[in-house]
Symmetry: D3
Subunit: 270 residues, 6 copies
């Protein structure tokens, strides 16, 4: 009989689920996306990062934190790239239904905590909504993690080049570096070009990472599809970024694994 | 005939809409909420702040920026307070439909820009989703503004007391101060108590303003309903906070009023 | 602390809701609309009438009948005017969801009776549907009131001029008179013209107030948007109409406040 | 080959539909209901009346007015009787979808007019909504007819006994008489009893036919299920009522068959 | 009082439903369709077959098997013929809602078994889905019967001519024969022509009755609308086919009437 | 640059999609399920078979037939196993939305053919529905393939033992053999037991593979969750079954790749 190496719940049998998925267990649902990433990166970029981050986290802290991984959601809300053939997307309502149904399933196991491990920025806001909806509908504690938070969702890169102006949100320096680390065979650096929306970067508020969220699609910034400057990306930086992300995810999951709302012993603070 | 004082679109007639709402106009939809705010603040807190912020912005920069205000959405997604009688809430799907339908209406006017001016943190993520959906479905440029961003959505208060531990997200020091400024007759400071989730504040990641969004309802932190320390709130601080917010909103709206995605004249950057 | 002047539930705190909203209380949800009303009346006409009627009713009988008012729904089902820029509308499904969600919220208070106070004819049939759906889904007793019932919903005007032929259903004599009373600054009588569908009025059955309801949009009758003859409207008639409506609403609410289905003491009649 | 006797569209072949259903044709969708009608009447009462009225109308004026009948909708919105086994009901959303889909189908024929011929009061308000929705979505002219309008929808009976107090809305004198005319074998007059809600009848506003629509289910008035006084019903009165209804329907359909919104030749009235 | 001849539940009164619809009863919902059937058959073909099969089954074994028939669903999922005027269709979601709502109603009676008696191949897959959904949602045991299974759903005709190549799925030899038996007045054999998709028949897998289901509409095979060879159809064959079908339905219903999942007395097999 | 070994569309870049996904290409969407399979097989059984079949097909005939594979849908409609913790399921509406959205995405590529490669019997009927819906909504030609068709969907096993009585539909001899071939480390033959519903097998019509589809859940047949007799399963048989399935899939895909509805050159047959 197998000792499931990567803590995949799907590799368990029914009696094993009953025995091994307990109140102390943390269920993790990786969520990626298949969508255009410019001429130099494959559609799979976000899907791959979600799956690989999940795998690395499972190896590093899966046993210690009693994590169990659900199958990666490969197709999600990528309609900002709907203009590009090959992009696969679910409407907002569909993704919300998928996440809700999976959560309803998860709530029948012994686990009480469900984590969305999301690698696609286009899902982030909807998953914040889902965290509350799932908690109200199914009673699970819910959490949202990201291997890498792009600048338009509050992420701050320390490795991105200055010339990216903090606008490397899609197929830019960091993401390209990570892909050079994970699957260099799928990257064509010969087609990597700088595509930074200088005009947007000149704004104070309405910009990626600015104080004003705004509606956009990736072709609002040009026909190539990526936003950032992948020219100087390297596998070495990719490896460091990826390892750092996995470490951080394990640190966050450790906090999640023991998280309780519970009012403090001496009652609410005064 | 009236000269609409506050730039309310509803005070126009049909011929006036045709003449005055133009491509340069910016439509603003204020969105508040009616929900429990602990024993010291009225249900109307968020609704009132949305309406009053809209009114003050209209006075300060409505004419200059060609703003037109839609009627305030008074009831929105407040299901984190659904446990408390008096809270009025729409389900996520309902609010998304309301916003979508209003946007479809708005798209038949001459204006090309629509701003959500939201005062309720429970709506924020859903409205980020709506920004993209509306843009794709109806072609409008969309933006999301907040008079005050609570700590769990990235806001950083400079006036909140240290003892609030950055957890003053609902009925805390700042919000109470603002209500003391706007409607002191509706505030009962005699019932103001410190309700800070010290245990949560001790977390590094899973906390308001931390790196991990999580699903919660306001009664997860105790039976009173507010989260923060309103004890030292003052109308003076409230006035300063409010005036600062209105200034910032006008600054943001100025950027919105001339915002264009357009690729830079010399083509995409290289 | 405030003594809520107009019986607005939103001006209460949570403890006040618990104490003051009781089984004897009647919740009132005013529902207006923002929609074109021809060249002489503002979009706000229905929204304003709903709000002002609610306010006047609250003053006149709110205390005596233990009424509590929910915030006015400003945007509703106005798709018969969807052709006109500035009209804001919700689809039928959306309005049904809004009303249902608000009713679900209301059902968590102590009150057992919910009244829709609707000023827009385009909502009437849908709200009749909602009365039953809400009663079945949430157990509340439900009622539908109108400040003024237009001729196409069974209303019979005693003040409208004969030349209106009973067709003054939108921006006609009575509605214009009421607006001259409530907000003369928003009325442009210089643009008031007679727009009576004489051909329709010649019908016996398929006409406003006839025995055959039919599907129509306001541009079916011409490009101006109003249907009726506002030329002779006066503020004096408007005041009388409005005061009469408020009196009637209080009379209806008095009956509602003590309404019980209960089978008669001596059992069902025989 | 058949000469379709009753103008049933379903008895045509495809080439016949193409040839015979023209812009001048009027499509009629009969809508009934299968629901409890007290101990003396069968569930089929409304379904039967819809079908029989349609058949009689087809015979009387079908040819002259170029009417084509769609198959009777047998199950509709009867949830006011959902407590009673044997009642079959569709939710409001479902019936709206059914009517919309059938209308979408109808819009592909040559006809431009669609009539709902409805015998069940519980559908009336929803079908008024549908008249507008169908017109906006599919461009058809839409109309709503009733063989008999119960008192709670504005009907005024001249044959009902005084002791029914205008409350004979379900299984009362008139409906029972009609069933004695149409299908006496399905009526059990030995179980006919007076069930008039005297208390409700004493109300001025909140009563069937009063000025205030309200949410009710048929068991709100007692366990028997009917509301009215069927004791003195006779087949003779039923025949007269039915024949009168058919005459009236043909009169209404004659008006519908030539109905046009068209602005009067000399332009809108002034 | 009537002795309901055809076991129609709608001919019962409420007290009769309570007495006569028992746990041993089997509810049968006939489902037909109104849709183009080529130039020689009427739109009603499937609707008529569903109703007539139900009637014949009721006569033959209704009493013995305690069957109760719900009203025939006349309009269903016929969008493969949506291109043809006169076809009436419900969307998949609508039909699923109709079936679900009727099942919810049926579940309030004493019966525990619900049978869909479906004559339209376009519904088959959706009704297989409904069997499971209804069982999970309402607890009823559910079954799907067909009077005649067309070749694309596994049916094997013994009477169809060889030249039909097993492709007689819509308006072909067998269906035309049955219509010649049931309603010869509605059949125009003068317009009967062979329309067999020879190219499709040459396929091994992607063909009606092959191993690969595929998406098609009836105009994919030519403009006439039927698929098969009705030229040699006869009423005699139709009568035999129909009688054979009724016999088979009664045999299937006999098995259904005593069907239990129940684990075998001596426990699960080993 | 990579030469995508397994014809995964996600491994392409945007320019590659534009160049390589052509009208001659066939898109394949593998659909599996994660659900209980009794005590001896892992939850992943169906998911794994879908993925592995896709991979093997890609290797064998992907290049020749110009196939491009979309990411496997891992979670689908498995609510017949919803009682068992670990089963993950989507509601029927959700899966239909997922498939529809993915098809809408696929329709923006150059390909005109979309194949569902489904390994889970619980999806089959819904995917037959989807074939038609997708074709009507998005214009794609659609096809449904199965690596192995269980007996309840018309499959006929030649390798299953006689004692399985044709009831080996879930975790039985064949499926267990295949898993012993694909992932023996995940199979626990020590827990393999015969669980054949003898009583059901005794039926003529209401049985797996009988003429009457019926609603069931897997716990209707006992608490263990599998249905069949896996005791004698062997990896050797599994390999043969799997290889045979891959051969058959390539044969079916070859027919699909050149499939055209097109009317025969000499016009419709006569």
């Amino acid at each position: 009989m197998s000792n499931p190496a990567f803590r995949l719940i799907e590799e368990l049998t029914l009696p094993q689920v009953r025995e091994r998925v307990r109140p102390s267990s943390v269920l993790v649902l990786p969520i990626g996306s298949v969508e255009q990433h410019g001429p130099h990166l494959p559609l799979t970029t976000d899907r791959l990062i979600a799956s690989e981050a999940a795998r690395a986290v499972a190896r590093r802290c899966g046993e210690a934190l009693d994590l169990w991984f659900l199958p990666t959601v490969a197709v999600s809300k990528a309609n900002e790239h709907a203009w590009a053939p090959g992009t696969l997307w679910l409407r907002a309502e569909t993704l919300l239904s998928v996440v809700n149904d999976v959560a309803a399933s998860a709530a029948t196991t012994g686990a009480r905590r469900l984590v969305f491990l999301n690698s696609h920025g286009g899902n982030t806001a909807l998953l914040v909504v889902a965290c509350r909806e799932v908690r109200l509908a199914h009673g699970l504690q819910t959490f949202l993690l990201h291997p890498f938070l792009p600048p338009d969702h509050g992420g701050r890169s320390t490795s991105a080049p200055a010339g990216e102006l903090g606008m490397g949100i899609h197929g830019g320096h960091d993401e390209t570096s990570i892909m050079l680390h994970l699957r260099p065979d799928l990257v064509d650096m010969g087609l990597a070009t700088r595509r930074v929306p200088d005009r947007l970067a000149a704004n104070r508020h309405v910009r990626f990472g600015g104080s004003v969220p705004f509606g956009w699609t990736s072709d609002d910034f040009g026909p190539d599809g990526h936003i950032g400057d992948p020219v100087g990306a390297t596998a070495r930086e990719g490896r460091e970024l990826f390892q750092g992300a996995v470490e951080m995810l394990c640190e966050q999951l450790a906090e999640i694994a023991t998280f309780e709302f519970g009012v403090d012993p001496e009652g609410p603070s005064r």
